[in-house]
């Protein structure tokens, strides 16, 4: 793919080298400069958090609970909270998301229904995260009476990440070649057998990659869990689904803005921020690497 790209590109490069146009080179370098701004800013923020947080990270920091009004000790229950929140969210959202994707890619026919479903997905993807938080508060916390709890927060996050899971799963399902289906159907398999035995297994790596990237998105979210799950402090790790939890993003926010020890907890804030970044970007990187390997490995 890239090799082909190179070959066709060559003649234009030669034309370009012949006459150096001042206006052209000015604008191209301007675009280069503006275009790398995002990457540079990411680099600056990353190195800042790394510089301030790396000497705080230690085994004790990630394995011990906070002590002395959170100015000392670790963030073990906070990490556990985020991991549980994300895990339960994924357990809830993946079956629903994948089923929806199967409907969209295998069963739906073009028409008003499909249009409505797609439209609602786009809209859902654009709804602000704080609005999901309000919804979770009104429905899961109050109407279903789950209270501020791990379960309410997970369900809120599940609804938020649903459109993403649907569209990545759908993409994975659509990438399965039509000949696979034809072969299976020709062997006498029913449509459902074909989906279960041929299409889903083939699409599974893609679906899981989408889920990993979704996990990265969910674990960094603060606004949806603010009124549905997260507490300033809980004694230890949660013992049931219906207890409030501490979570990494909320921990950063609350230590940096509320309470009487904002300056004293600064090191903990940096450490928590670094932990969150490592978690989110690590998951992200894993997903991106898996995805590009799958694309390269694809033999059909």
């Amino acid at each position: 793919m890239t090799g082909h790209h190179e070959v066709t590109r060559e003649p234009f490069e030669m034309v370009r080298k012949k006459k150096i146009n001042l206006k052209e080179s000015f604008f191209l370098s301007l675009i280069r400069m503006l275009g790398s701004a995002g990457a540079i800013i990411l680099f600056i923020i990353l190195s800042f958090v790394l510089y301030n947080g790396v000497h705080i990270l230690s085994w004790d920091f990630i394995s011990k609970p906070p002590i002395e009004a959170m100015t000392k000790g670790g963030i073990f229950p906070v990490i556990v909270g985020t991991v549980l929140l994300t895990f339960i969210c994924m357990i809830v959202v993946i079956p629903i998301g994948v089923t929806t994707a199967i409907f969209l890619s295998e069963y739906s026919k073009p028409g008003l229904l499909l249009k409505t479903v797609m439209m609602s997905m786009y809209t859902l993807a654009g709804v602000p995260s704080v609005v999901f938080g309000l919804f979770g508060l009104a429905v899961f916390v109050v109407a279903f009476n789950f209270g501020m709890s791990l379960f309410a927060g997970s369900l809120t996050l599940a609804i938020m990440v649903l459109p993403y899971i649907i569209s990545t799963s759908e993409e994975a399902l659509k990438a399965v070649p039509y000949s696979f289906k034809e072969a299976s159907l020709a062997c006498g398999a029913t449509k459902w057998q074909t989906i279960r035995k041929v299409i889903l297994p083939t699409a599974m790596p893609g679906i899981l990659t989408g889920a990993i990237l979704g996990t990265a998105k969910v674990s960094g979210e603060t606004a949806p869990i603010m009124f549905t799950a997260a507490a300033f402090f809980t004694p230890g790790v949660p013992k049931s689904l219906f207890e409030p939890i501490m979570a990494l993003p909320y921990h950063i926010y609350v230590l940096a803005t509320a309470g009487t020890h904002i300056e004293e907890t600064r090191p903990v804030q940096y450490g928590t921020a670094l932990t969150l970044i490592v978690l989110v970007l690590g998951m992200n990187l894993l997903g991106i690497i898996l995805r590009s390997r799958q694309r390269k490995k694809r033999a059909w």
């Binding site: 275009g35 929806t100 859902l124 602000p128 459109p163 603060t222 989110v280």
Partner: protein
């Protein structure tokens, strides 16, 4: 069975709309929709309370505008760089980097704004702009510059607090660049190769081709990118909550503090008693946010349907 599950996103969206309207209905009904929407006093905890949402709405509008001014050129430029200019090795490195920036936790961006950008603005930039610069201008003794311009700098460039809408806009720009650029890049890549080849064969150089051929051919996709970027900015909560300053007044200048709508919800929900007027007013703000983003989604969906611009959905 499968087809009923297929409707799950429709049902969820309807439920969100229903529950938000249900909780918010009473505030618009009791206090009067016009009075709530265009009232300039947001004093939810006073006695009697006042729920004029205009300061919050204007906070969002002004912050979004400031951010858009920076984020749209930077986002589009990033897309052009990645799609058209960068060597394919640089591209392979930049694309995942931008994708990672897109899922960078916004609470860390807010935290960075609080501990780095805000002190830089108030402790370092403000003395230079509001003290050193006017002094320098006054000493020049040139009519307009030494009087009007110097006074302007002295009065207007003084930054009382680093937590203001400029800092918020700066951090929101970081948040919006990857959203805009990833959609815009899709739109640029979708322009057929033959268009570029035709342009080159007529003797156009690379910049002319980008400006006159590739951008016009992908303008609908680029506008979808911009609209969805604006949607992201409007709904972004943690950054405006942490660095916008939090004052519920209409901002008139770029160094004024503000309390945009998401920040109001996030900051006040914890202290609003269940089913109180304040609680309902915050749901009212949520309804407005939902309507704003719904309109933006409708527009972008319309554009991408009509012009087959880009496949949106997995990008945000």
């Amino acid at each position: 069975m499968v087809s009923s599950v297929g409707l799950v996103s429709v049902i969820v969206l309807l439920l969100i709309g229903f529950f938000l309207f249900k909780e918010a209905f009473y505030i618009f009904y009791k206090a009067g929709a016009m009075k709530v929407l265009f009232g300039t006093a947001w004093y939810p905890t006073y006695d009697p309370p006042s729920f004029g949402m205009l300061p919050l709405i204007m906070g969002t509008v002004v912050v979004t505008f400031l951010t858009a001014v920076m984020a749209i050129p930077l986002g589009i430029a990033t897309a052009i760089y990645v799609a058209e200019i960068a060597h394919h090795r640089v591209k392979e490195f930049l694309k995942p980097l931008i994708e990672m920036l897109a899922s960078f936790p916004s609470v860390v961006l807010g935290f960075f704004g609080m501990v780095v950008i805000a002190p830089i603005l108030s402790n370092w930039l403000s003395p230079i702009l509001a003290e050193k610069l006017p002094e320098l201008l006054r000493s020049t003794n040139i009519p307009f510059i030494s009087t009007t311009l110097a006074d302007f700098c002295y009065n207007k460039l003084f930054i009382a607090s680093g937590l203001n809408i400029s800092t918020a806009a700066l951090m929101l720009t970081v948040r919006a660049i990857p959203v805009i650029s990833s959609i815009a890049e899709d739109a640029l890549t979708a322009v057929p190769r033959t268009y570029r080849e035709a342009s080159y064969s007529l003797g156009a150089n690379k910049w002319e081709t980008i400006l006159r051929v590739v951008i016009p051919a992908s303008v609908s996709g680029l506008s979808v990118a911009v609209i969805l970027g604006i949607g992201t900015i409007i709904g972004e909560t943690m950054i405006v909550l942490m660095v916008a300053g939090g004052a519920a007044v209409i901002p008139y200048w770029i160094f004024d503090p503000a309390r945009p709508m998401p920040a109001a919800i996030a900051a006040e929900m914890a202290e609003a008693p269940y089913q109180s007027l304040h609680y309902q007013a915050l749901f009212g703000v949520g309804v407005l946010l939902l309507i704003f983003t719904f309109i933006l989604s409708l527009i972008s969906d319309f554009i991408s349907r009509k012009y087959r611009a880009v496949r949106i959905g997995e990008k945000i």
